[in-house]
């Protein structure tokens, strides 16, 4: 099980067809306006202003309204009015499916309760992120999901240690995989797994007693890929978009240049692995 979106859950349960899902999403998209669209409609800001706000929003992990106020393009009162209008008009996927006649309201309500129950396993845990690290909620998700997926995918019980910020040279011992993010969000996720823990993951995932070096590398790379894919799913639930590159192997250390890394040790019964997110 992974982080899902509601439409996919409905599809997987056979409540709707793929064609109905696509149709309902398009109907929903044509109906739902963004806060910026409401502001432009009201003549409060020009389209160029929306672009400026969106850019600030992406770099600072703040909501559209907060960015608009910071740039002096909207007042707090205007933002509240826009948010109320958006909330009142919002058409959820379930509503869209009911409007289109693809499912009954009762079936959607029942499915939504089941979906929420299933997704509880991925509810964000509380993680302390040092104050100098930007996008604290998102950065916390990397470590939270690493811990949860280590158990779910790799059969490894794990606890997070205390995070710290590293600059200069980042030691990356063990079998190391990196995934790059681009688009609305730029970073690199790095996971460093000691040989013994990678072997345990390979045994759990593939029942391999004597995995080759290539197989151990691939287990760690695929783990990083799945963590980062689920990060994108969580971002998407918050209306944010980004892309990930295929995972790649890293050497024994990485020169961070002018960047810094937030590093968390992850303690398991078989030793410690390390997870780093560049910022």
């Amino acid at each position: 099980m992974a982080i899902q979106f509601f439409g996919q859950y409905l599809l997987s349960k056979g409540i709707i067809t793929a064609k109905q899902l696509v149709d309902a999403v398009e109907y929903q998209e044509s109906h739902n306006l963004k806060v910026g669209d409401y502001a432009v409609q009201k003549g409060w800001i020009p389209a160029e202003g929306v672009r400026k706000i969106t850019h600030l929003q992406q770099t600072k992990d703040v909501k559209f309204g907060e960015a608009a106020v910071e740039l002096g393009l909207l007042t707090k009162k205007q933002v509240e009015e826009l948010l109320t209008a958006q909330k009142n008009d919002h058409l959820y996927l379930g509503d869209a499916l009911v409007h289109k006649g693809y499912a009954s309201k009762e079936a959607i309500d029942k499915a939504l309760a089941g979906f929420k129950e299933e997704q509880k396993a991925f509810a964000p845990g509380k993680i302390d992120i040092p104050s100098e690290v930007p996008l604290p909620k998102l950065n916390a998700a990397f470590f939270d999901l690493t811990q949860k997926l280590l158990l779910r995918m790799g059969g490894v019980e794990a606890k997070l240690g205390a995070g710290k910020v590293v600059s200069g040279k980042l030691p990356t011992p063990g079998i190391v995989a990196q995934v790059g993010f681009s688009g609305g969000f730029h970073t690199n996720y790095i996971v460093c797994v000691p040989d013994g823990i990678a072997r345990k993951m390979a045994k759990h995932m593939l029942d391999l007693k004597n995995p080759s070096a290539e197989e151990l590398d691939d287990v760690v790379k695929e783990f990083a890929n799945v963590v980062c894919g689920n990060i994108l799913a969580r971002l998407a639930q918050e209306g944010k978009q980004a892309e990930i590159a295929p995972p790649e192997r890293l050497g024994a250390s990485t020169d961070l240049g002018r960047d810094k890394a937030l590093v968390f040790p992850v303690v398991t019964p078989d030793g410690e692995l390390h997870v780093a997110v560049i910022f």
Partner: protein, 122 residues
Amino acid sequence: MGSPKKVLLVDDSITTAKQLEQIISGFSGFQVVGHAKNGAEAVKLYKTLTPDVVCMDIVMPLMDGLQATRAILQFDQNAKVVMISSLGGVGDKVVEALKVGAKNVIAKPFEPEKIRSTLETL
């Protein structure tokens, strides 16, 4: 009983390919016939192996799974492609994959039962 349905696996991860092969080989009525490590290889193998079902990753080097699905469906409009991806929980990607013509989308990490029920309903 008819011959088993041929399944082509497409994933740059040998871990996922092996997991899927182990899972699918346990189902009656399905047989894994090949493994492509990127989208370009998948299109070539589809033409030579003529599988009944393709299990397709999305994020891959050279050619991603969405591009490969488009190319396969241009070659054979009846192709049955199921996306199995770490992006399987990203709403936009799921909808994009379905628009391209994928029959279903499964998020990683997956459960064997999910793979079985999806393949059986194709």
